[in-house]
């Protein structure tokens, strides 16, 4: 009986092996098919990335060694002329400083106010969805439309901000007409518009903070601030890091709000006149656009604009690399399956 059973078992095992051997080739081909299907799904994105990002990126590097006004039949090779001029152009430090001022004000307020908004709307309570939607709503609006509306809001004589300012007894500045306040005003608007986006990411980060950790801290006698600073902030540090990196990259590319809020100045309209008052809001991207389309200097054209764009690219790369190099020390990644103990923490 036992022998019979063992024979049956052996026969069964053998047949399973045979069946597995028979299946293996077909399962491999299924894997290949799946890979091929997956590749087909990502192909449009890859083609788009190559056609609209990689190729222009390489082409723009090539153009930076040429002079071309777009309509001449051929670009003219000028070697390093554009790059030499870039280093000698005394307007570049000004536009870089303006960009840096925006980053200092705009990015800092964005990171802090987004976190404040997330903390205020994180806890489930009545109408919290409405508050979150209201805070997120500006993010989906056109930057130009937002800029036009805020230009009126900042109106020194009749805008509501000046009205509120004067309610408290102060003399409202001419926000967009004063070189000292124009860039902070633009930073304020971009923060208002993007704070909902930051809030959403922070909320998802806060949702990932393990409750037992907070409870353990409470048991250990930590007060609310200590729990926030020593538990919550480290746990959401990947979100903070992500938002810092991406918001800095976006800040370097500031263009639309400046044109919308300062372009309707004097002399001529749009980007050509934007960047005022007194050159205080002209950013590196706006200067690049001016050199591409608005100016008729000997150096102006696609080549010099491409050189400016590459300088910006290298600058963003450098700043991002520094962030990864030093910022990573303060970022903590919590493995998702370790909440019940044996927590695995690694530093990035």
């Amino acid at each position: 009986m036992r022998r019979a059973m063992s024979l049956d078992t052996k026969v069964g095992l053998d047949s399973t092996k045979v069946a597995l051997r028979a299946r293996r080739p077909s399962s491999l081909s299924l894997g290949r098919r799946r890979t091929r299907t997956a590749f087909l799904f990502v192909l449009p994105q890859v083609i788009g990335l190559l056609a609209f990002t990689a190729v222009p990126l390489v082409a723009s590097l090539g153009y930076s060694f040429t002079h071309w006004d777009l309509v001449a039949p051929q670009p003219t090779w000028v070697g390093l002329d554009n790059w030499r001029h870039l280093l000698a152009d005394d307007r570049v430090p000004t536009v870089l400083w303006n960009t840096a001022r925006f980053i200092l004000v705009g990015t800092t307020t964005f990171l802090v106010l987004s976190l404040v908004a997330a903390l205020l709307t994180f806890t489930p309570r009545r109408f919290v969805g409405v508050y979150r939607a209201a805070l997120f709503l500006p993010y989906v609006l056109s930057q130009i439309a937002v800029g036009v509306v805020w230009r009126w809001m900042f109106n020194g004589q009749s805008g509501p901000i000046s009205g509120i300012w004067e309610l408290f007894g102060g003399n409202s500045p001419d926000w967009l007409l004063d070189p000292a306040t124009a860039m902070p005003a633009i930073a304020m608007v971009t923060t208002w518009q993007t704070v909902g986006y930051g809030m959403t990411l922070y909320i998802s980060g806060l949702q990932g903070v393990p409750t037992p950790l907070l409870e353990a801290a409470t048991v250990d006698g930590a007060n609310r601030w200590q729990r926030f600073w020593h538990v919550t902030v480290p746990m959401i540090s990947p979100t903070i890091f992500f938002l810092t990196v991406t918001s800095l990259i976006a800040a370097f590319q500031l263009f639309d709000p400046v044109v919308a809020m300062t372009g309707a100045s004097i002399g001529s309209s749009g980007p050509a006149a934007a960047g005022g008052p007194s050159n205080s809001t002209r950013t590196i991207v706006l200067y690049m656009y001016n050199q591409m389309f608005n100016y008729n200097e000997k150096i102006s054209g696609l080549g010099y604009a491409a050189a400016i764009a590459w300088m910006l690219t290298l600058l963003i790369f450098l700043v991002t690399a520094i962030q990864f190099l030093f910022g990573g020390r303060f970022v903590h990644y919590e493995s998702s399956g370790a909440a019940g103990g044996g927590r695995k923490r690694r530093r990035s």
Binding site: L70, S158, S265, I266, S268, S269, G270, P271, Y295, N296
Partner: protein
């Protein structure tokens, strides 16, 4: 061998067909007008032309209405209308040209016309004019002179032009006990300043000349000029009347921005805003443009063009207004005109049909396009403009005759320096300071040519 013979036969057949097609198309490869493009309109080959327009709905409708006559005369030509810009936003135009997608016909303004000529994106129309027998002497001479390039050729024909005049609210003049401004411009900038004081009223009814006047409670302003919005046609005629300007010389490439005359002109504008409190400031202009306030009856006088008539008809037909030529300054009467131009693309593959369209729209079909003054023959004096129903009295004295003033200037930019000179690298920060009341014109502009503008001009192409 047989296959090769067959291939040669196919190639020869294709070449023959191509020759026949080319011969019938009426287009020449070198861009010169062909026999078919005689300009008579009767023998144009069937073609579809792309025509790109810009402007508000009224502007675009006016052009489409004017083009109905062309479609009747040329049923063989199909028009495909597009909306796009070669006037306000030249960057968009340049991008289209770079992509080889510039429509066959488009409309630059005088301020971008020479950009298009310099970039080679507009076709030289002189051979077409000669071939069709269209005489340039049939057009307003000043316009043709302004559009003639340094090579002596024309690259566009005028759709029409607008000119700066004084538009005033008759009821408010009556209320202040003032006589209306003479339509021929025989009054002065000092007069305008005094009138503005009497026409500016606060909530209590005090005018700006009254010591009890409270400028923070102004309900009615005396004057507005488009200095507070992003177009220079407001301040350029003022500067010209004072004998100055931003740029001078035959090619408008010499800095005159710090001349005493220019400074005096800017100071006149600044004084109305910040000393007299009688003019719309940049801040108020940000909230609502001075021209809109004039249409609503909130401002008594404005410098503006004929489009104000259409604005009144559309927005406030009850407004009782008059129109007069601009006043006399220390240098005389000055005004600014600017033309919209019909041009055809140098890239067009249907140049004969495009030329027929350009020719028709600027000659037989001229008038009532974009509310402009027709520049063809004496159309401006007739029912197409001065005698048109609904037009104010004195239109000819205020809008047509000033075009022949010695100080009637235009805003062409033959050397392509205006954008740079008026940018943040040029004069814009100084103008910001003046119109914001932070500095006097003298403080802001003294020495600016030597310190800033001349170097910019030397760096241009």
């Amino acid at each position: 061998m047989g296959l090769r013979r067959k291939a040669l036969g196919v190639a020869a057949s294709l070449a023959g067909v191509a020759l026949i097609v080319t011969g019938c198309s009426g287009n020449s490869s070198d861009g010169s007008p062909t026999a078919g493009g005689s300009g008579t309109g009767a023998d144009t080959a069937p073609a579809t032309i792309r025509v790109m327009l810009w402007g508000n709905d009224q502007d675009i409708t006016s052009i489409k209405d004017a083009a109905k006559g062309f479609s009747t005369a040329h049923p063989e030509v199909t028009i495909e209308w597009e909306t796009g810009d070669c006037a306000v936003d030249y960057a968009a135009c340049k991008t289209l040209a770079a992509g080889g997608n510039l429509p066959d016909v488009f409309v630059p303004g005088t301020w971008t016309y020479f950009d298009a000529v310099r970039d080679g994106i507009v076709e030289n129309l002189t051979p077409y004019l000669e071939k069709s027998g269209t005489s340039t002497s049939d057009f307003t001479p000043a316009v043709i002179k302004a559009l003639t390039a340094s090579d002596g050729n024309l690259y566009g024909l005028p759709m029409g032009y607008n000119i700066q005049s004084l538009f005033y609210n008759k009821d408010e003049f009556d209320g202040a006990g003032l006589s209306y401004p003479p339509a021929d411009g025989s009054y002065t900038y000092d007069d305008v300043r005094e009138w503005a004081k009497k026409l500016t009223l606060d909530k209590a009814g005090h005018d700006a000349g009254d010591p009890a006047f409270d400028p923070s409670q102004t309900q009615q302003w005396g004057y507005t000029n488009s200095i507070s919005i992003p177009i220079p046609q407001g301040y350029l005629p003022v500067l010209a009347a004072f004998g100055g300007g931003i740029l001078g010389g035959p090619n408008r490439d010499q800095c005159t921005a710090d001349s005493p005359e220019t400074i005096a002109g800017f100071q006149w504008l600044a004084d109305l805003m910040w000393t007299d409190h009688t003019a719309i400031t940049p801040q108020l202009g940000q909230e609502e443009a001075g021209s809109s306030r004039w249409v609503r009856g909130q401002v008594a006088m404005q410098f503006g063009s004929h489009e104000q008539v259409a604005a009144v008809q559309a927005q406030n037909p009850a407004l009782n207004f008059g129109i007069a030529a601009l006043p006399k300054g220390p240098a005389g009467n000055a005004t600014l005109w600017q033309a919209q131009v019909w041009s055809m693309s140098a890239q067009s593959e249907v140049k004969d049909a495009a030329w027929e369209f350009v020719r028709y729209m600027s000659t037989d079909g001229a008038g009532k396009q974009m509310a402009l003054i027709p520049a063809y023959k004496d159309l401006a004096q007739g029912p197409d403009f001065a005698q048109a129903p609904g037009e104010p009295a004195d239109l000819a004295a205020a809008q047509i005759e000033p075009a022949s003033w010695p100080l009637a200037i235009t805003n062409t930019d033959p050397t392509g320096v205006w954008g740079l000179v008026t940018s943040q690298d040029g004069i814009a920060p100084a103008l910001d300071d003046i119109i914001s009341g932070r500095k006097s014109a003298s403080e802001a502009l003294n020495g600016i040519c030597a310190s800033t503008i001349d170097a910019l001009l030397q760096g241009t192409k």
